[in-house]
Each structure stands twice: as C-alpha cells, then as structure tokens.
C-alpha cells in the first residue's frame, strides 16, 4: 500500500512537470497550469529545506554520539559541531539584527505613506475613517514613538540632518494647527528621506557591533580562506601527478599533450610574444574538435539522463521502495 502510494505520488509529480513543459503556453494558461507553477516551486523549496533540517539532525546525532562516548578522534567531531553551532548562532543573530533594522526603517517609511493617505482620504471623502486632525495627531505621535526607539548614536547623526530638523519643525506646526494638507504634503517625502538615512546610519553603526564582527570573522575570516586553500592544494597535487604520470607513451597521449600545450601557449603572454599564432590555434582547437567532442558527450549524457528520468518517473528504478521481497 505504502509503496503504491509513493509510486502514485512520484508519477503525478512527474506528470505535472512533463505536461507543464510540453504543452503550448496558451493551453497552460487556459487550463490554469501556469498559475500552479509558483506554489509548486515554493513547495519544492520547502521540501528541500527539510533536507537541511534532516542533514543537521543527522550530523548532530552521529558526531554527538562520538563526543559523548569519547570515541576515536572525538575532537574532530567537537570541532565540527562547534563550527556548525557558532556559524548558525552568528548568522541567525545577523539575520535578526538586519530584520530589526529594516522593520524600524519601514515604520518611518509608513509614516510617509500615512501622511499621503490622510490627504487622499479627505480629497476622496472616504467614509469610515477618523477625522483628518485626529489622524494627523496619530501621525505625529507615531513619529515621536519611533524617535524614542532610536539608539543615541543614530539619534546624534540624525539630529544634524536638515530633513530630520524640518520634520521636527513641521510636526510642531501640525500639532498646533487644524488639518493642513500643505504641511502634510511637505512632511511626507521628508519621512521617506529620513527612513533611508536611518537605514544607512543604523547599518553603518551595526557594522562595528560584536555580532557583525563575529559573523565576518567566521565567514570572511575563516570560511572563505579555508575554502580557497582547500581548492588551491589541488594545483600542487596536479603538478606532482603531472610530473609523475603524464608520460607520452602512445600517439593518442602525444595528441592530448600537444593540444594541452597549444591551448596553454594561446593564453599566456610569454608564449604569445614568441608566436602570436598560438591564439588562433587555441581558438580553432576549442571551437572545432573540442566543441564536437563536448557536444557528443552532452548529447550522450542528456539521453542517458532522460532514460534515467523516465525510469525514476515510472518507479522502475530499484530502490528502497521498489525492492522485491
């Protein structure tokens, strides 16, 4: 029963993509298949995200056991989990800090939208809303509330800004006067400017915070150089292997070596200064024999991939669920 259900789900999922890809666009729109594309893609992303979670749980389970029972080379497992958790911690904290920053900036931007809305509602005589004077008061109260949430460092910078000073001036006038659409029109773009300025100042402030330092240390200071170093080692291994193993013992080996030498000569300044024709030879080698060979490989791989895809679509491929008892 379980096996049948999985095979059916696999078939239907595959069928959707086959139909969606092959049928004309107008049919796809008419049958509503086009509209399903985005939610289904998001569904696949969600399933993929589950794989991250599974991987994480598995890592913790295996390496946690090694550490707990002090098994062979437990310190490597400890290093792995420490690196994992520290990166998760700092990345999450960085993400949350950025979200908070954006949220605060968006609240100021909202004041700009609100001030325009007050004017447009009065002009359109919208019903069911408060009187414009009350709404203006709410606008100014909202601004005062937002100002209180600014950190002292950010506030010190914003206070010097002409747009901020103008907002303060106009806020005072708006509180003490009746509904004034001209003042509201004047204050609206200023809120948008201060929102952008707040974001810039707060971001700059955040760059010198401990969270950002930790994130940069782990990411740019450790992850990137280590990744580059691991890849760089390959160059040395290749050089050693090339010296020992690249011996021309047959005509085919000679052809391969000659092609490699000519391609390298075609893209190095030193060799091109000796003979400029290397560039044309290189271009010919890459465009003619190489392209022909790669096309053949790509077509072969494509056909093999298609056959495998069909086998998986129809659940012919033997696996855990297809195993015969």
């Amino acid at each position: 029963m379980k096996e049948g259900l999985i095979k059916l789900a696999t078939f239907l999922a595959g069928l959707y993509f086959v139909v969606e890809f092959l049928i004309p666009g107008s049919w796809s729109e008419a049958w509503g298949i086009d509209a399903l594309n985005e939610p289904i893609s998001n569904g696949f992303v969600a399933i993929g995200s589950m794989a991250f979670g599974l991987g994480l749980i598995n890592l913790i389970r295996i390496h946690g056991k090694t550490i707990l029972f002090l098994n062979h080379r437990w310190f490597y497992s400890l290093a792995l989990l420490l690196g994992l958790f520290s990166m998760i911690t700092f990345a999450s904290m960085d993400w949350i800090a950025n979200l908070r920053l954006t949220k605060a900036s968006d609240k100021i931007l909202l004041l700009s939208t609100f001030s325009e809305k007050i004017i447009s509602d009065v002009d359109a005589k919208t019903e069911g809303v408060l009187d414009p004077k009350s709404r203006t008061n709410f606008l100014i109260e909202g601004w005062q509330k937002e100002k209180k949430s600014f950190s002292p460092e950010v506030m010190n910078v914003l206070k010097e800004n002409p747009s901020f000073q103008k907002i303060e001036e106009l806020s005072g006038k708006l509180i003490n006067s009746d509904y004034n659409p001209d003042l509201l029109k004047e204050i609206s773009p200023l809120f948008a400017e201060v929102s952008t300025l707040y974001r810039a100042v707060a971001s700059k402030n955040y760059e010198s915070s401990g969270i950002k330092f930790g994130y940069n240390l782990l990411n740019n200071g450790i992850f990137v150089p280590l990744g580059a170093a691991m890849f760089s080692l390959l160059g040395f291994y290749i050089a050693g292997a090339a010296y020992r193993a690249f011996h021309v013992r047959s005509f085919e080996a000679f052809l391969m070596m000659a092609a490699a030498v000519l391609v390298i000569c075609g893209q190095t300044t030193f060799t091109l200064s000796i003979f400029t024709g290397f560039s044309d030879i290189r271009a010919w080698l890459l465009q003619v024999p190489n392209s022909a060979a790669f096309r053949a490989i790509t077509i072969g791989a494509g056909v093999a991939g298609l056959v495998l895809a069909f086998r998986m679509w129809f659940s012919v491929e033997s696996g855990v669920f297809g195993r015969k008892k």
Partner: protein, 283 residues
C-alpha cells in the same frame, strides 16, 4: 628531499613570486572577452537592467571573482542598474562584498556616487535551482516574486526594481560559476515567450570547453575564459577609462601564466627523465 616536495616548492615559487612582488604583466589578448566588452557597451542605458548571478564559492573565487568584478564595474560605469543574486548558498560572502568593493573603487576614481537600491540591489541566495529560474522567467511581476532583498527591504519599493516587471525588462544576464550543472539551468530556462536576454558567462578554465558549445550555437553571447578573460577585460577597461588603476586580476593572471608554464616544464622534464630511464633499462 623527495621529488614531490621539490615540485611543490617550485610551483610555490612560480605562483608566489608574481603575487608577493605584485608583478602584473600585460595579459594575452582574448577575442571573446573583447566581444563581451562590446556587448556590454551595446546595452541601452535608458531602459537596460542587468541581472548578475554570482554562483561561485571560495573554491573558484580566484577566477570568478575578478570576472564578476570587471563586468559589474563596466555595467556600473555605464549606469546600467544591476540586480545580484545566486543559486548557491556558498556565494553569500561575495554577493555584497563584490559590489561594495567595486562601488568604493569607482567612487575613489571618479568622485561619483553609486547607491544601493538605485544602481545595485542584492537579492541574495535563492533556493530551488532550475525551478527558481523557470519561475522567475515566467513571472508577471518579478519584484513581487522575489519579495525582499538581502536586507529585508521590499523590492517593489526600491527605485531600481521599478524598472523591472517581467523578463522582457531584463536586457542582460551575466552568470559566473565554476560549478558543474548550474550554468545549463540558465541556458534552458531563462527565457519566456520567445524572449532571450543577452547572456554572458564567466567560467573557470576547466569549464571553458563546455561553454564553447553554447557560444558556438549562439545561446551564449559573451564569454570570459577563466582568469585570462578577466585580465584582458580589465585591460580593456583601463584602455577605455584612463584613470582606472591596474587591479589584482593582472597580477593573478601573471602568476597563473608562470604557474602553467612551470607545469609544462615539469611535464617535459618528467617525460625526458622517463625516456632516459627506459633507455637505460633497455641497454
């Protein structure tokens, strides 16, 4: 000392000396990079929007980062707004670091300002691979589909994103990767209703042969062939913008050239020694 250690030492010297002493020799002329340069020059300034995919990680950073920097720099100099994203999570450190470095360098050189949100937007890592590309290409409202940028700002509110609605508003797609199987997603899926943006690709030296078949068929219009391509593009930028200083690409390319020639020398030496040994055995 074992022969392998001598080999490593020789390679270290060959690659290290140009980098340590900052020796940047003129790069070899790369016609494909020249064509790429003309393509970027032909993008209309008034309406053009470029999407750049930085699908590389620390491993291929040495080749792909200079490529992404020169292309981004050229687009920014022409004031063509750029949206940056990636299909791989390992690219995250570069998605903001590269545009920040380029904008800062341009600001120092020209005194002009390039703003985030107006000239550059970082959309960040997007999961889903080919599915994401397909959905992006078919979307009727790309800012809404993408949602927010890396800082959490709603994309629809950013000035740059007001120029983009569907794929037909994207003039140029640039993709930089050394990973296998990523580039083909764009070739297959980054199109809709017969519309194909101009497609430029920056690849590592290993994947050059694979990229050539798409260049030959016209599915790819511009190609930067590894670090050599980036170095020549950098040289073209220097020729066209006189105040531009030489960058790291020239030094890295020199180191790479010396390293490759050293490798050829080692292979030749290995073959000669093997031949001599074989002759001795026969005698």
């Amino acid at each position: 000392m074992k022969s392998s250690r001598w080999i490593y030492f020789v390679m270290f010297l060959a690659i290290g000396i140009p980098i340590i002493f900052k020796i940047g020799l003129p790069p070899a002329r790369m016609p494909k990079a020249e064509k790429f340069f003309e393509i970027i020059n032909s993008i209309p300034q008034a309406t053009g929007v470029a999407f750049l995919a930085f699908d590389y990680g620390p491993g291929t950073n040495a080749e792909n980062r200079p490529q992404s920097e020169v292309i981004l720099e050229h687009l920014l100099r022409r004031r063509i707004p750029v949206v940056i994203f990636s299909l791989t999570p390992i690219s995250e450190p570069f998605l903001q670091a590269v545009p920040d470095a380029v904008m800062k360098r341009l600001n120092v050189e020209t005194g002009e300002v390039w703003e985030y949100g107006k000239d550059v937007v970082n959309v960040g890592y997007r999961p889903g691979g080919g599915l994401f590309i397909q959905t992006l290409a078919k979307s009727d409202n790309i800012p809404e589909f993408l949602g927010k940028d890396i800082k959490g700002q709603v994309l629809a509110s950013l000035p740059l994103m007001k120029r983009v609605r569907t794929i037909k508003d994207i003039s140029f797609l640039g993709e930089f990767t050394g990973l296998v199987g990523v580039f083909q997603n764009y070739v297959q899926y980054f199109q809709a209703d017969g519309y194909l943006p101009i497609f430029g690709h920056g690849c590592t030296s290993i994947t050059i042969p694979e990229a050539y078949i798409y260049l030959d068929s016209g599915q790819l219009q511009g190609l930067l062939e590894g670090l050599a391509g980036a170095a020549w593009y950098s040289e073209l930028l220097r020729q066209n913008f006189s105040k531009r200083a030489a960058d790291q690409a020239l030094i890295s390319n020199t180191a790479l050239g010396v390293g490759q020639l050293t490798l050829l020398g080692l292979i030749a030496l290995g073959n000669i020694l093997a031949f001599i040994r074989r002759r001795r055995v026969v005698q």
